[in-house]
């Protein structure tokens, strides 16, 4: 771990909160194409103010600091209802992988622009025919002089249309068992043969793309770890992102809940929602679930400090998903006759936002390993039940 060059973030919380209260952009457009440049700007601002470097090695553009600094920052961003910076896939997925498994040359080349938001990253893991069974992916990387030729189709590439780089899992060796022949390659999306097609979700947003690689050349120095390490790197990445995700998401859901209670008061006052036992019980239960989750996240922080979080992170993923879906279902149901409308029957009710949030919450049991995959991990790797 790099030496801490500056005062630990935990000791600067008041300063950070003041800064966020002052600087958080409040007028972001909803339209993604207009919104994205503002998110890049926001990331640069966070970086230039010295906040975003926490938890990253000082010699590669960071501030040093410990493994929980990044989590603290993401929690404070969530608490301030501040937007997630544009380069989130780089910051949360690819960057940590390069920090642990990259070469010094790779870290020197890729980390500084990733932190500052000068280069946005995407993650090319899932494929149309390889979702939960990720290891059966078909994208090929054929060895040639000085590098690889990558061909295949990826899907659910987060913000792929804005990404300069994509971390791609590809099959480099078709002759070994499927988990062993996969490598992680960093693909320059400005290369000839790389193309993205926006993929519109049921929320109406196009956060993802389908990404097509037609004979794209990737030089040897852009392989992360050793050829054939890809599957283990992917497991490591997914396991490492689960813990921080739970801690951050928990705060975001709590902020959402406050908005839902406020909206419920508004709707009760307007006479379109009954303040009855059913509503009260649901509000009380959601509150209890959030307190439960907050206590769980506090325990998780201890594991993140010690870096000893294993497959039991899947329990956290299930918990946060359950709470998220219950809370946003409440936020949707109180809209009553306006459920599913993008128009407000009562000024300020924001039916559009709460409908989107509800729909988005339904993805929580699908992305980052579906609920069924998490249950399999818990049963076999946490509890030690026999494989079928």
């Amino acid at each position: 771990m790099a030496a801490t060059a500056v005062k630990p973030l935990a000791d600067r919380l008041d300063e950070l909160r003041d800064w966020l209260a002052r600087e958080t952009p409040r007028d972001l457009p909803y339209d993604l194409d207009a919104r994205f440049p503002r998110l890049v700007e926001w990331q640069r601002k966070l970086y230039d103010a010295g906040w975003l470097g926490y938890g990253w090695p000082a010699e590669f553009g960071g501030n040093g600091g410990g493994p929980t600094d990044k989590v603290i920052l993401s929690v404070e961003l969530a608490r301030a209802a501040a937007p997630v910076p544009a380069g989130t896939i780089g910051l949360e997925v690819i960057g940590p992988t390069l920090t642990r498994f990259g070469t010094d040359a790779q870290r020197r080349r890729f980390l500084p622009p990733m932190l500052r938001g000068d280069e946005i990253w995407s993650q090319g893991f899932s494929e149309p025919e390889a979702g939960s069974d990720l290891a059966s992916l078909r994208t090929r990387a054929e060895k040639v002089e000085g590098g690889y030729i990558v061909s295949g189709r990826k899907t659910w590439t987060s913000w792929g249309q804005f990404a300069r780089w994509c971390g791609v899992l590809a099959r480099t060796d078709p002759d070994v068992p499927k988990h062993k022949g996969i490598s992680l390659l960093m693909v320059d999306m400005e290369s000839e043969g790389a193309q993205t097609f926006p993929l519109v979700q049921m929320t109406g947003d196009a956060e993802f793309t389908e990404t097509l690689f037609e004979r794209v050349f990737v030089p040897d120095e852009n392989v992360v770890g050793q050829p054939g390490d890809g599957w283990n790197l992917a497991l490591d990445i997914l396991a490492h992102e689960r813990g921080p995700l739970v801690v951050r998401r928990q705060v975001e859901i709590a902020v959402g809940f406050e908005g839902i209670v406020e909206n419920a008061r508004r709707l009760v006052a307007a006479g379109v929602l009954a303040d009855d036992a059913r509503l009260r019980e649901r509000v009380g239960r959601a509150w209890a679930q959030l307190r439960m989750l907050e206590a769980y996240a506090a325990g998780l922080m201890g594991h993140l400090v010690h870096g000893d979080l294993g497959p039991e992170a899947s329990i956290g993923k299930r918990l946060v998903t359950e709470v998220e879906q219950a809370v946003f279902e409440l936020g949707f149901d109180i809209l009553g006759a306006s459920r599913g409308l993008a128009e407000d029957a009562v000024p300020g009710m924001n039916a559009d936002k709460w409908t989107r949030d509800y729909l988005y919450s339904r993805a929580a049991s699908i992305y980052g390993g579906a609920a069924e995959i998490q249950r399999g991990i818990i049963a076999q790797r946490v509890l030690g039940l026999p494989r079928a």
């Binding site: 209670v261 419920a264 008061r265 009760v268 303040d275 036992a277 509503l279 009260r280 019980e281 649901r282 509000v283 009380g284 239960r285 509150w287 209890a288 679930q289 307190r291 439960m292 989750l293 907050e294 206590a295 769980y296 506090a298 325990g299 329990i315 956290g316 299930r318 918990l319 359950e322 069924e372 998490q374 249950r375 399999g376 818990i378 049963a379 076999q380 946490v382 509890l383 030690g384 039940l385 026999p386 494989r387 079928a388």
Partner: protein, 322 residues
């Protein structure tokens, strides 16, 4: 209220687990629960280990521990399904020993928080502590009428104070303070017990699913069973985390309404876990020869004890009122 080191709770947990494994083994659980009202071996060992002075101040020879240690202790009591008036003796008597002589540590204590309340083990209690309008006192000559119960580890009784004399040991504002502390810490203790019962039910289910063979393989190899047990582990974690939140509230300024709501939530989740355990065990789990039903009935009783009003609903009402 606790000046104890953070790892003190872990130390309590280790020691409780070791003592209870020896004195209240879950091997032969049903025989133990049928043979004696109070798990006597565990009770005497507990007295010797100082559990009944866990919450007492140092002046009363106590350990001055707080809610975290209490939760750790009761999690083990729940896990081993040790029978006895644990909550009233550790919590109510533990706090009152700072004010009054309640006899030897092995004394069985019952606590009547309000007239008409059901008190566990009141019929066999050595001392009955009563909360009056303006005091807390020791009752003599009270009548305890045992209630029939499905719970194998509890002995509820209805207490009749007609003709009893009550000698006040704490009065006025101090009595109010102690009564509030008893209510809060009793909730911590019962939440701990729920967490222990849920953990035990999960462990039993994992073991059984690995041993029980149907269709030529252990049932735990079937995905339908695996996923049910995985969800039990998730819900068990929810109970443990709710317990942690209840401990935090007890140690801080959290309101009673919040603590009561979290208890209702935790009890509901614990119930889900033990009922899933029944499903995993199938027919044998439904049989009275298998110990599982003792865990289920204990959880159901602990959930019912919380049933004063509807805490989740009340809290929701407060939040909506702003």
């Amino acid at each position: 209220m606790s000046a104890a080191a953070p790892d003190y709770a872990q130390e309590i947990q280790r020691s409780a687990r070791e003592i209870l494994a020896r004195t209240a083994s879950t091997e032969g659980l049903l025989e133990r629960l049928r043979a004696e009202d109070v798990s006597r071996g565990a009770w005497d060992a507990a007295a010797q280990a100082g559990w009944f002075r866990l919450l007492s101040g140092e002046a009363a020879g106590g350990l001055g521990a707080g809610p975290a240690e209490l939760a750790a202790l009761f999690r083990e009591i729940g896990r081993h399904l040790a029978a006895g008036p644990w909550v009233d003796t550790v919590v109510a008597a533990g706090l009152l020993r700072d004010h009054a002589d309640l006899g030897p540590d092995t004394a069985l204590i019952g606590y009547l928080p309000e007239p008409g309340a059901v008190v566990e083990f009141a019929a066999v209690a050595d001392v009955l502590v009563v909360r009056g309008p303006d005091s807390i006192g020791l009752a003599r000559g009270a009548l305890a009428m045992p209630l029939k119960s499905f719970d194998l580890a509890g002995r509820p009784a209805q207490v009749d104070l007609t003709g009893a004399t009550v000698e006040a040991v704490v009065e006025g504002a101090e009595a109010e303070r102690v009564a509030v502390a008893i209510a809060r810490l009793a909730r911590v203790a019962r939440s701990g017990e729920l967490a222990g019962l849920a953990a035990a039910a999960l462990d039993m289910s994992v073991r059984y699913a690995g041993e029980r063979v149907q269709f030529d393989r252990p049932i735990g190899a079937f995905q339908a069973v695996q996923h049910r047990i995985a969800e039990m582990a998730v819900t068990r974690t929810a109970v443990d985390s709710a317990l942690a939140a209840i401990v935090t509230l007890a140690a801080s300024e959290g309101t009673d309404a919040e603590q009561a709501a979290l208890y209702e939530y935790a009890a509901g989740e614990a119930r889900t876990v033990v009922l899933s355990a029944l499903q995993v065990h199938g027919g044998i789990g439904f049989s009275a020869e298998h110990p599982l039903h003792a865990y289920i009935k204990r959880v159901l009783r602990l959930q019912a004890v919380a049933g004063e009003g509807e805490p989740l609903l009340d809290l929701g009402g407060r939040l909506l009122a702003g």
